[in-house]
Amino acid sequence: MTAAAELMDYDEVIERFDPVLGLEVHVELSTSTKMFCGCPVVFGAEPNTQVCPTCLGLPGALPVVNAKGIEAAIRIGLALNCEIAEWCRFARKNYFYPDMPKNFQTSQYDEPIAFNGWLDVELEDGTVVRVDIERAHMEEDTGKSLHVGGSTGRIHGAEHSLLDYNRAGVPLIEIVTKPITGTGARAPEVARAYVTALRDLLRALEVSDVRMDQGSVRCDANVSLMAKDATEFGTRTETKNVNSLRSVERAVRFEMTRQAAVLAEGGTIRLETRHFDESTGSTSSGRPKETSEDYRYFPEPDLVPIAPSREWVEELRKTLPEMPAARRKRIQVEWNLTDLELRDLLNVGAVDVIAATVDAGASPAEARAWWVSHLAQEANTRGVELADLPITPAQVADVIKLVAAGTLTNKLARSVVEGVLAGEGEPVEVVEKRGLKVVSDDSALIVAVDEALAGQPDVLEKIRSGKVAAAGAIVGAVMKATKGQADAKRVRELILERANA
């Protein structure tokens, strides 16, 4: 173990240095098959079951490009305001690693499919930062190595390693930013906000599962510092595979304070890759970049060049969904939300389910009320995301409609939702099974009203003498008698009617 790194106080870092960021995000596409063969793309299958001669790199096997992968790459490029190459090629990136079946990665080098774009990123306080995009290119994922017997799970100290090639050949898009400068103290926040915005964008495009916890989005954070009077960027480090939004922010912040301490001592930053430790929030030294391999890129001779026609590109542009930032703005207006209310909805991840509930015919106010009060609590209790509750936006909309039609009271509606969550079926089925229908048959209600009035002659007198407010006591009695299944408004009307009959 090396000694813990010296860190500089964050405020002092900002006083003395300007941070420069460069973010590389790898996105696994959720195509049904791999990039260069017909094997299914699935998460969590038994090791080495989703493989074929091509993705195992068997002698003689050849790649064929997955057209859906190219389509997704172009759509991502367009959503990131990139230019789309008229002609580009795959290239081989040559290096040896046991989890890479061919010992070269089929990637793109100097001819990316998309380049020169930007993404506007909104910070917590509403500040918008434009992040310039250098390129988005296509490549294939590697397999996975599992190092057994070591204490760290890393290869060092392991007794043996297991290889799983299920992931080998899964389509990846690598999105690389241009250097992000001028963000000062907010650099870690910008890094997080960029990855968040990118994730939302990819989700809206429906091209990836965007599960950072499952590795379908992986971020490498390049960080360097320049002294306030410097004219050139400092030496950067690349922190690999940071796999949560919070970690992106922490990793950037840690590197800033670590590098500042080194530089302040008169030291130099090594060009190297670093590993982020989730438990300590610190980074540790990995492979030095000086001795990094020469990848000997050359155009992939087994694949033909890709020349997407301008017509196709324009067709794909038409398939782009509303961008998340624009959608948020629209929703805020349409749902009549304050900034704070919108942020709360975003924080609990309720926007999509509410929107879907509204789309299914509910009013925004009611949809919001259901999801953020009752259901958010339920999700919290169960420890799941709102969207993962066993009730769909359509079902919530159904319940809201039943209330609006007078079939259910709010109290009964809650019971219906309970039933749906308990797996008792669709809302109408729960209504039937639990016998929750509002008693709307007047004859039954009249019997109950008459009984209640007869039971409280003093109240009856008051009503007859014009003290209408006294009817409340009778309403209570009727509701009790009908086990709450009556519509209180109708009961009140009937009480006044019968009392004065």
Partner: protein, 505 residues
């Protein structure tokens, strides 16, 4: 020797369909011949007796049932170069690295041949990973030329050419990267065809140089080659570089050519392929062949292709560069041999030891050259420049084909050289592919047909015929016309003059 082994593929198929002979008898005759002469020739690395006989039986059952033949080659025995995958037999590529490796899948051409009822006798010897021009680079020992057992049968497909010339098989499959079908054809007096790049699927061919590799038919007659060409050719969705066009009608072209009329055909003689380094015996045979083409009515024009002289140098940058990447996968992790895995060594160390032990000298030489040529800082000077030369060669061809229909040259500058003669001199070895490399670099089809024996050493000489991309019909037509004329003036096919081999038993 059974007469069955001397017949052409077309004759054998006809006799099987006519029930004059069974496919099993034909296959058994060839298996017997292999048993008799292969100890001396060493064309085969593996003989698939059981599966070959089973395939033959299936053809016989088809014939008995009165079904239409699966193809015009149903029941004909074929020798498969060991670079092509076939389940149920090892694919070693002539390398220690893949000793005993049984592929879990069939190459597309293997599938097509089996579906056509072709009987696959086994896998033939080759220079390791198809790198060489003599088959001496095989990890399993050299193959001997049936014309003179002390000489090389060409390479890398020397096993396939020797199997044909020793009557062990009526057909063979070769692969050609810089001449590995044509040069073995030339030095064994057989026919070898390299189709247009992308004309025949590469799926299941263990890659040497992906932008150059091409499988093709080998046979003893032009018609047999054409028949096999039509079986293996055509689009394959598993090969992204496969051309999505119908197979050129080469069998029809052979029929037209065999009429012996080449009036209206313009044939270019490549000026640069003569002079120093060319055996006088080869040049006499070549010039006689050109004269015969003129007699058949063709117009003969001398054509200069000034950039062809750079082709060999450019080839020895492009092919090694691609091979350095293609052969990176042999790392002892998933298949093939594993050396030095004692439970202590790291994966990197085991990989290193395995590659040290598994690859032969020529393979290592090319991996090193290619690794160097692709290195950052050298890429533009080497790989980049070589690609520019490739473009210039294509332009030379384009200019030539504005003036002529096909080009001709000797296939290789010399006749078969003695085993061992060039083993320690790679540069001399590389010169064997001098005339075949330009068409490979351009992706054009080219073939070798036997011309007359060299008057100096009495060994076979090949005439190379080249054509523009996808214009295989032109070269097959010229080849067929020449074959008929040559056989008439020479008193029969050249292959009938191959010496009798001593029988082992």
């Amino acid at each position: 020797m059974s007469e069955l082994t001397r017949m052409t593929a077309a004759e054998l198929a006809a006799k099987i369909q006519a029930k004059e002979v069974s496919a099993v008898e034909v296959t058994q005759a060839h298996l017997d011949r292999i048993a008799d002469v292969d100890p001396a020739v060493h064309a085969f690395l593996h003989v698939s007796t059981d599966s070959a006989l089973a395939q033959a039986r299936a053809v016989d059952e088809d014939v008995a049932a009165g079904n239409q033949p699966a193809s015009p080659l149903a029941g004909v025995p074929l020798a498969l170069k060991d670079v092509v995958t076939m389940q149920g037999a090892p694919t070693t590529v002539g390398s220690r690295m893949l000793e005993g490796w049984e592929p879990p899948y069939d190459a597309t051409i293997t599938t097509r041949m089996l579906e056509a009822g072709i009987v696959i006798l086994g896998k033939t010897n080759m220079d390791e990973f198809a790198m060489g021009s003599s088959t001496e680079n095989s990890a399993y020992g050299p193959t001997h030329n049936p014309w003179d057992l002390d000489r090389i049968p060409g390479g890398s497909g020397g096993g396939s050419s020797a199997a044909l010339a020793s009557f062990e098989a009526a057909l063979a499959i070769g692969t050609d990267t810089g001449g590995s079908i044509r040069q073995p054809g030339a030095v064994t007096g057989t026919v070898g065809v390299k189709p247009t790049y992308g004309g025949v699927s590469r799926y299941g061919l263990v890659a040497f140089s992906s932008s150059l590799d091409q499988a093709g038919p080998c046979a003893r007659t032009v018609m047999d080659a054409a028949l096999l060409h039509e079986v293996i050719g055509g689009h394959d969705p598993l090969d992204a570089t496969s051309i999505n066009e119908p197979v050129p009608p080469v069998v029809q072209a052979v029929r037209e050519g065999a009429i012996g009329d080449l009036r209206g055909v313009k044939i270019g003689v490549v000026k640069e392929f003569s002079g120093e380094g060319y055996d006088p015996g080869v040049m006499v045979s070549f010039n006689e062949a050109v004269e015969q083409l003129r007699v058949l009515g063709a117009e003969i024009v001398e054509i200069s292709c000034p950039h062809f002289k750079y082709a060999l140098s450019a080839y020895y940058l492009i092919a090694p560069s691609e091979c350095s990447s293609n052969l990176a996968r042999f790392d002892a992790m998933r298949y093939g041999i594993r050396v030095g895995d004692n439970g202590e060594r790291s994966a990197e160390e085991v990989m290193s030891l395995t590659r040290e032990a598994g690859f032969g000298a020529e393979v290592k030489r090319r991996i090193m050259i290619g690794t160097y040529a692709l290195s950052s800082g050298y890429y533009d000077a080497y790989y980049g420049s070589a690609q520019k030369v490739r473009t210039l060669i294509k332009r030379d061809f384009d200019a030539a084909y504005e003036k002529v229909d096909v080009l001709v040259s000797p296939t290789t500058p010399t006749t078969a050289f003695p085993i061992g003669e060039r083993a320690d001199n790679p540069m001399a070895m590389y010169l064997a592919d001098l005339c075949t490399i330009p068409a490979s670099m351009a992706g054009h089809p080219a073939m070798s047909v036997p011309s007359k024996l060299s008057g100096i050493d009495g060994l076979p000489v090949g005439l190379q015929i080249m054509a523009p991309a996808l214009q295989e019909t032109r070269m097959y037509r010229v080849a067929a016309a020449y074959e008929v004329a040559r056989n008439e003036s020479d008193g029969g096919p050249l292959i009938s003059r191959v010496p009798e081999l001593e029988v082992a038993r």
